[in-house]
């Protein structure tokens, strides 16, 4: 598949990526949306489509509250005030992480720094950088039944983020089943990434030049 050199590359915006990620969520699924980019996925889910889990102890999370309706004791894992839907529940942290570790959360959509061809995820620390902490990242990555990573395809310095092997500290090994970037949707296949979908104007060659492992 080739396109003429004049076809403009239109990378997906973060809204496009969130809309695309929302399509991966089956009705009734229990889903944890990570801090940052993945939080936006909720904007593209009909209210009540899925059970949103927040690891600080909330299942059945609703939209952000209107101004004046905020409850400082009803927050998500990103410490933003949220709402709770009818049928939702709150619980202590030990129960919340038992849900995660025990495989009761169907899907986690997480931000990422690097994803390897074998599905390794690195999203908690930059080598030589200030250690911000782990939070729920390792539990979510290793405990949820499926993990989708969402990230820009390359760093601001144009370094690869889809790689053969992560050189950033790992969050969990062999857990990512799908990567959604501004250039498309990619599936770790062991020795590379299978192209599932490409953003408008993005050719396989264009994506390959920005990927640190073979695209299949």
């Amino acid at each position: 598949m080739s396109s003429s050199p004049s076809t403009p590359v239109i990378p997906w915006s973060s809204e496009d990526m969130a809309r695309r990620a929302a399509r991966e969520i089956p009705a009734g699924a229990v889903v944890n949306l990570g801090i940052g980019l993945p939080t936006q996925v909720a904007d593209y889910l009909p209210v009540g489509h899925a059970w949103l889990h927040s690891e600080n102890g909330l299942l059945g999370m609703g939209p952000f509250p209107f101004e004046g309706d905020e409850d400082p004791n009803l927050i998500n894992a990103g410490k933003q005030t949220v709402t709770i839907l009818p049928g939702g529940s709150t619980f202590d942290s030990a129960a919340s992480f038992a849900m995660i570790r025990g495989g009761h959360v169907d899907l986690a959509i997480l931000g990422a720094m690097q994803v390897s061809a074998t599905g390794d995820l690195a999203n908690w620390a930059v080598p030589g950088g200030k250690v911000m902490g782990i939070g729920g990242a390792m539990d979510l990555a290793s405990g949820c039944r499926h993990v989708i990573a969402m990230m820009q395809h390359v760093t601001k310095k144009q370094e690869h983020k889809l790689v053969s092997a992560c050189d950033y500290p790992l969050t969990a090994a062999r857990v990512v089943s799908l990567v959604i970037t501004d250039l498309g949707v990619f599936e770790p296949s062991g020795d590379g990434f299978r192209v599932v979908e490409l953003a408008p104007g993005v050719t396989r060659d264009y994506a390959q030049a920005r990927t640190g492992a073979p695209l299949g």
Partner: protein, 207 residues
Amino acid sequence: MIGRHRDKVIASVAEALAPVTDGMTILVGGFGLSGNPEALIRGVIERGVRDLTLVSNNAGNLGKGLAQWLRAGILRKVICSYIGGNDELHTRRASGEIAVEINPQGTLVERMRAAGAGIPAFYTPTGVGTVVEHGKETKEIDGRRYVLERALPGDIALVRAHVADRFGNLRFWRTARSIPTTFTSPASTSTASSTSPSTRTRSSSAP
């Protein structure tokens, strides 16, 4: 212990914190700025104890709450899951003033749950293949690898509840429950302040 069904409501923070002594391991509830027992946090500083080990998810956030303990210089060690924008902890960690141990959040809370439930250690999949497993025993069970994590008991837990009664029963509101209820079980003593400012409850949760 006999006679523990006394009225547990205590009139002052100072009296509630009387059991706190130098070198203790203190578990403090709160996630971000939600559920922090502010009055008790201030009370520990006023009590003048030192060399404390603090167990908390964030160990202070945006300069508030437990950040006061960092500034007061009363901590020897912090066990937490996320530092994030807590610059005061970053600085004291870098200078070596405070030892910092970072655990995955689910491992941190399960270590405390285990301590409260009489379980000395447990195998978890979280952290396998990462820096978290360094120096720890690992084991393959039914084809999957796990890392052995030890229980984390505390000497006293400080939590903020929504409502407390004289028997030491606590109610929490919404997500302010998250860390506090996990924290009360492994401590030999739990001290709660309710949102009603005149009411403090100290309840022993030892079996």
